[in-house]
């Protein structure tokens, strides 16, 4: 009887061990392997051939011929001011987009977290609902709204508020709009998860001790929701930083974002090694805040125990 149970338990444990491998396998296949390929290409020279880069290692019949390894592509990124400008511009655009997401998302998350349970689920469904339609389609839809012949301009012209169409699209404004629209749920959800757990007694206690409404917010709610703010900001900032579709569809010719630069480098210049170097540097820029986030999270959970 006991042996039976033990055997069953062992079986389950073995199964569990396999299940635990899955995420690592996933990361290996879809993150690490592609990254190594990109890293490899970034150390190569471009050639007009197929594939359009030199191999890192030359093999001849007798064995290893030579290892060709160049840092020229990285040197090029640092020499050409264009890349510095484009990285900084991306950081700026993703940063401002994230800021507005936070500004909009925080009150929304707070409001939802304070509703009765049934209403909360309904509102959360509303936040996630846009995901049911393809991201690409939703960004396309904004063209129909924003263009000079679009819904907004036509309506305003029709009512007579304006007498010539506003330039709402193909500029930085449209890109910010796109980022905020697309990534708002990524801000709201972690913030909601944090604010929903907040002990309301703490609000009462602060008020009882003499804090006015805004003081309660700044003394208690805000500091305690910091982990949610950090999580939300990273979840918006990181994908917004490398965003390609939004600047490509809504941005102007002067909208500088790294995603577009990557695309141009890969498919217009066909300089795969430089393009790879651009993406490796992008990854490094993003990994730093990620690691910081991981550390603060670990500290937080350590404190709660």
């Amino acid at each position: 009887m006991k042996n039976e149970a033990n055997k069953r338990w062992d079986g389950r444990r073995r199964w569990l061990r396999y299940a635990l491998i899955a995420p690592y396998l996933w990361l290996l296949l879809f993150f690490l392997a592609p990254f190594i390929i990109i890293l490899k290409i970034s150390f190569a020279d471009p050639v007009v051939a197929l594939p359009p880069f030199t191999p890192l290692i030359d093999w001849v019949e007798s064995g290893l011929d030579r290892i060709k390894f160049t840092l020229d592509n990285y040197a090029f990124l640092f020499q050409d001011r264009y890349y510095a400008i484009i990285y900084l511009s991306s950081i700026k655009m993703a940063g401002i987009g994230t800021f507005f997401c936070l500004l909009l998302g925080y009150p929304m998350a707070y409001y939802i977290a304070r509703q009765p349970q049934a209403r909360r689920n309904f509102l959360l469904l509303g936040v996630i609902l846009p995901f049911w339609i393809s991201f690409l389609l939703r960004v396309y839809a904004w063209i129909g709204l924003l263009s000079s012949q679009g819904v907004i301009n036509n309506t305003l012209l029709g009512i007579g508020i304006i007498d010539k169409p506003l330039t709402l699209i193909y500029n930085d404004f449209a890109v910010y709009l796109g980022i905020v629209y697309s990534y708002l749920p990524f801000m709201i959800l972690p913030l909601y998860a944090n604010l929903e757990r907040l002990d309301l007694d703490l609000h009462d206690a602060a008020a009882d001790l003499g804090a006015h409404r805004w003081q309660v917010f700044f003394d208690v709610t805000l500091p305690l929701s910091l982990p949610g703010i950090v999580a939300g900001c990273l979840l918006v900032f990181i994908p917004a930083m490398g965003e390609f579709i939004i600047p490509a569809l809504l941005g102007g010719s002067d909208t500088l974002m790294i995603g577009r630069a990557l695309w141009d480098e890969f498919f217009i210049n066909r300089d795969w090694p430089v393009a790879s170097a651009v993406s490796v540097v992008l990854l490094l820029i993003l990994v730093v805040p990620m690691m910081w986030f991981q550390r603060t999270q670990a500290q937080q959970s350590g404190e709660e125990q």
Partner: protein, 378 residues
């Protein structure tokens, strides 16, 4: 502190001015009345307990005193000033929460200092007062700890210090001892009483634990369905319960259903069908003969023995020991009467003896002084 001398029973003094005056207070929610037209005066220096089960409205009452809930009707005066619609942060009232509600991102010192900081007390004064408060609750050594690194008892003391440091006129305590284990609870109970005595601040304690209410308080209000069933000293509530609910809720009591036969000179004769006997109880005035009555006797008022007692003026019944429980200091018996009714009897174990004098299935006589029996109606 001799300046905080209060009369021991200010509620009996018609000239005494109450510090808290609650009149016609009602709180109505969409579908329920949580507090139903309550009147209450509480006097300076009292340790007043509001005792009730869950859903009795006691917490709503406390939250109205703190200012977290607006009354639907009625008024609350604190030290003569109308507080009915004053915001919590402007009331001379502080509260200790059942969850303690310590700010997890602040250390002990910061938690205690918070209320003073909000009042813009000068920094040097804050430092002094926080230090004095921490000394008082013996937490100085832990001043820089965050709440998650404190034990339950320590958290309770931080919460108390944080609420007391502002020297409120009124301290509200929501189930102050519920989260502590038994030993610590007993100890803290007396600490709380001493602290209250020392500071002279009026305490209102909300609790569901009748033992806590009895030991702590000067007076108890027993609350049920949004109303006070009885307001009185612990002794009054225990020995002279106003009705069946109180008798049942506070302490343990034996209830014998009975019908009034007649009454003269403060004594009522009743017929108890459950025990197949006549009972006598003291009752001032004339009990309604058409209503259902109960003769109520506390277990410790009942005397149990194998021999019939000889004293006069006692109600004597015969029964069989159904169950007995030995608690060291006392023994509990469940005695079945001839009619099938089971009464609880508790007896002090006064003599040291490892041998039981009464055993299961022993035939016994139980008896009580007629003056110990209470006559209750619905």
């Amino acid at each position: 502190m001799s300046e905080n001398e209060f009369s021991a029973t200010p509620w009996l003094d018609p000239a005494a001015k109450p510090i808290v005056q609650i009149s016609n207070l009602t709180k109505q929610y969409d579908d329920a009345t949580a507090v139903d037209n309550i009147d209450l005066n509480i006097y300076a220096g009292e340790l007043f307990a509001i005792l009730g089960g869950s859903g009795s409205g006691k917490t709503t009452l406390l939250r109205m005193l703190a200012g977290f809930e607006r009354p639907t009707a009625g008024r609350i005066l604190i030290d003569g000033a109308d507080m009915t619609s004053v915001a919590p942060y402007e009331r001379p009232v502080n509260m200790m929460f059942q969850s303690y509600a310590l700010f997890p991102h602040m250390n002990v010192k910061q938690n205690v200092a918070y209320g003073l900081r909000k009042d813009r007390v000068p920094a040097t004064q804050i430092k002094e007062r926080v230090q004095a408060m921490l000394d008082m609750v013996k937490l100085s050594a832990l001043a820089n700890r965050k709440p998650h690194r404190l034990s339950g008892g320590e958290r309770q003391r931080v919460a108390l210090a944080r609420a007391l440091v502002k020297r409120p006129k009124l301290l509200l305590l929501d189930e102050p001892l519920a989260a502590l284990d038994k030993k610590l609870r007993e100890h803290t109970q007396f600490e709380l009483m001493n602290l209250q005595d020392e500071l002279g601040i009026t305490f209102i304690v909300v609790t569901h634990d009748q033992e806590e209410a009895m030991t702590l308080s000067t007076r108890i209000a027993v609350m049920n369905d949004g109303r006070f069933e009885q307001v009185g000293t612990p002794g009054e509530v225990y020995e002279y319960p106003a009705n069946r609910f109180i008798a049942d809720f506070v302490g343990t009591i034996n209830l014998l259903e009975a019908k009034v036969i007649d009454s003269h000179s403060g004594r009522v004769r009743l017929q108890c069908d459950q025990a197949k006997t006549e009972l006598v109880a003291e009752f001032p005035g004339q009990p309604a003969s058409d209503r259902q009555h109960w003769v109520a006797v506390r277990p410790e008022k009942i005397f149990i023995d194998k021999e019939p007692p000889s004293a006069d003026d006692r109600t004597v019944l015969k029964g069989v020991v159904l169950d007995l429980g030995y608690f060291g200091n006392l023994s509990l018996y469940r005695v079945q009467l001839a009619g099938g009714l089971v009464l609880q009897v508790s007896a002090q174990n006064r003599r040291r003896s490892a041998v039981r004098t009464l055993e299961w299935d022993d035939e016994v006589y139980i008896s009580w002084d007629i003056a110990s029996a209470i006559l209750l109606s619905e």
